[in-house]
């Protein structure tokens, strides 16, 4: 039974961690953007308006759950749940810190350490597409349908690019496990530069761009382009169901940022010193610091770049990102082949 107890603790901890993170994340985004746009932003609830998100959540929770007459009830309700579920499940494999050793037993700081963690992430994100697709279809209304078709086409397309961007990382580290990938990035090049996978710069860039598209964030937020299709797939949603979509999107932003950190920025790696407790805490700190940097980058991009046109978006994905990824994979493969077997002329 200890298996279930440990699993329960881990899941509950992960859930709480995510909820807190998302509350902060929404507040940070609003504050940061308002600063960039030279306005104040939320400042009523709590100090600096830090409780504003919580207030919004409470409001959503008590709103009436409207279900449109032509909606497909089961799927209409199921879609936001699915969105939330996949977002939460994705987080489970992300190691937020170095393994902690208590009484000689090593505990990973990922809820699950799968040996196919990376594939798991991809699998979850591909399931996540359904939430949006079904939400749009189940609404029984045209703008949501268009929005959902756009969103899912976009996500599928960029999922391909994302998967291809991951392949060099996997080839480089030789593992699909996220923990193993972080551990492979320990150490330095020549004692100065941290040995992070960011040396695979094209992969990093492609992954980040695909990440914007996967989370439907600007400049790729075509799914909810207000000027064209009202609210996109969640036009008909309100109350708690809308809140679930909202939360899921922000969890996904955090997930993408965290995975970027894990894959390219060395995860929890950083200088560790001091007493045992500090040694437990510091890796988590480094991990969160890097992740928040990425998140701030996401927000910055949202504030700065205009939305792309839909055909440009698809063309960019299929005709630029994917070919570049393929070429890059070949280059990395050749380089690794040199490292492994020596140059063919040698």
């Amino acid at each position: 039974m200890s298996f279930f107890i440990e699993a329960g603790i881990r899941v509950v901890f992960a859930f709480v961690f995510l909820m807190v993170t998302v509350l902060l994340l929404v507040w940070v985004e609003r504050k940061f953007i308002s600063d960039l746009q030279n306005r104040i932003g939320p400042d009523r609830a709590g100090p600096f308006g830090i409780l504003q998100t919580l207030a919004d959540g409470v409001k959503s929770f008590f709103k009436e759950g409207i279900i449109p007459a032509r909606a497909d009830v089961v799927l209409f309700i199921g879609a936001p749940v699915l969105a939330m579920l996949t977002a939460l499940l994705t987080f489970l494999v992300i190691p937020i810190g170095a393994p902690i050793e208590i009484n000689g037993v090593s505990y990973s700081l990922a809820a699950m350490d799968l040996n196919i963690g990376l594939l798991y992430v991809l699998a979850m994100s591909s399931i996540g597409v359904y939430a949006i697709t079904l939400a749009g279809w189940a609404s029984g209304s045209k703008y949501p349908l268009i929005g959902s078709v756009r969103a899912s086409a976009q996500m599928i397309s960029y999922e391909a690019a994302m998967g291809l961007a991951l392949i060099p990382v996997v080839m480089f580290t030789g593992s699909l496990s996220l923990v193993a990938i972080v551990e492979a990035q320990q150490g330095t090049f020549g004692g100065v530069i941290p040995a992070w996978n960011i040396v695979l710069l094209p992969s990093f860039v492609i992954f980040l761009i695909a990440g914007f598209a996967e989370t439907n964030r600007p400049p790729f937020d075509l799914a909810e382009a207000e000027q064209e299709i009202v609210g996109g797939y969640h036009t008909e949603y309100s109350g708690m169901k809308f809140a679930l979509f909202f939360l899921a999107e922000y969890i996904n932003v955090f997930n993408i940022a965290a995975i970027t950190t894990v894959l390219f920025l060395g995860g929890w790696s950083g200088p560790v010193f001091g007493p045992t407790v500090l040694q437990w805490f510091l890796p988590v700190f480094w991990f969160l610091a890097k992740t928040w940097l990425i998140i701030l980058f996401f927000v910055w991009v949202r504030a700065s770049l205009p939305r792309m046109r839909y055909d440009h978006l698809m063309a960019f994905g299929w005709k630029k990102l994917i070919p570049v990824s393929l070429v890059w994979i070949i280059l990395v493969a050749v380089a690794l082949g040199f490292r492994e077997f020596g140059a063919p002329w040698a």
């Binding site: 497909d72 799968l114 594939l119 699998a123 979850m124 591909s126 399931i127 359904y130 349908l145 599928i156």
Partner: protein, 176 residues
């Protein structure tokens, strides 16, 4: 124990999903039913230590195949009137008989060919790690693997051909 519980839950989900897929009048619901089946089967793969297959099952079937299905359903619309329509009177009965016959045949074959009952379920040294499958795939089955690449490429070209060159558009394409 944990395994048994998980198996029973997801076997039930799979069976309900399968029946729902067959019975649901709405193709989208059918698709969701099938999705449930596929996800459950992925869980079963995890029970069977075939982690890679499980992940691929979700990515390929749930992520790609079923998405395509849902897309196509949305594209050509859902005509629920089609669902059953006029049937041959005894079709249901015949179908039930054939399905039952199949089940009996397969189960019997499984019992005959497969006298398991061994409490030692599986062998502990085998797990569907990526490395084991990869060794097999890129070793013994390299040629087969390469031919599937050919197959995929050809299928992609065929699909594009089917999608782009249909009778209405040939003249437009020629003039364009």
């Amino acid at each position: 124990m944990a395994e048994t519980i998980v198996f029973i839950i997801f076997a039930a989900v799979a069976l309900v999903g399968a029946v729902w897929m067959v019975m649901a009048p709405n193709p989208v619901h059918s698709a969701i039913g099938l999705l449930a089946v596929m996800f459950s089967i992925a869980v079963h793969y995890v029970i069977l230590d075939a982690h890679l297959i499980a992940a691929v099952q979700v990515i390929i079937y749930a992520g790609a195949v079923m998405t395509l299905f849902v897309f196509v359903i949305m594209l050509i619309g859902v005509d629920t009137a089609d669902a059953y329509g006029p049937q041959v009177p005894i079709q249901r009965a015949m179908t039930a008989a054939v399905a039952a016959g199949f089940f009996a045949a397969i189960a019997l074959a499984g019992r005959v060919v497969w006298i398991t009952g061994s409490a030692a379920f599986g062998r502990p040294n085998l797990s569907g790690t990526v490395e084991a499958v990869a060794d097999e795939l890129f070793g013994t089955w390299m040629v087969v693997f390469l031919s599937t690449i050919m197959l995929l490429t050809i299928a992609a070209m065929g699909t594009i051909a089917l999608a782009y060159f249909h009778e209405d558009s040939t003249e437009d394409e020629a003039s364009a």
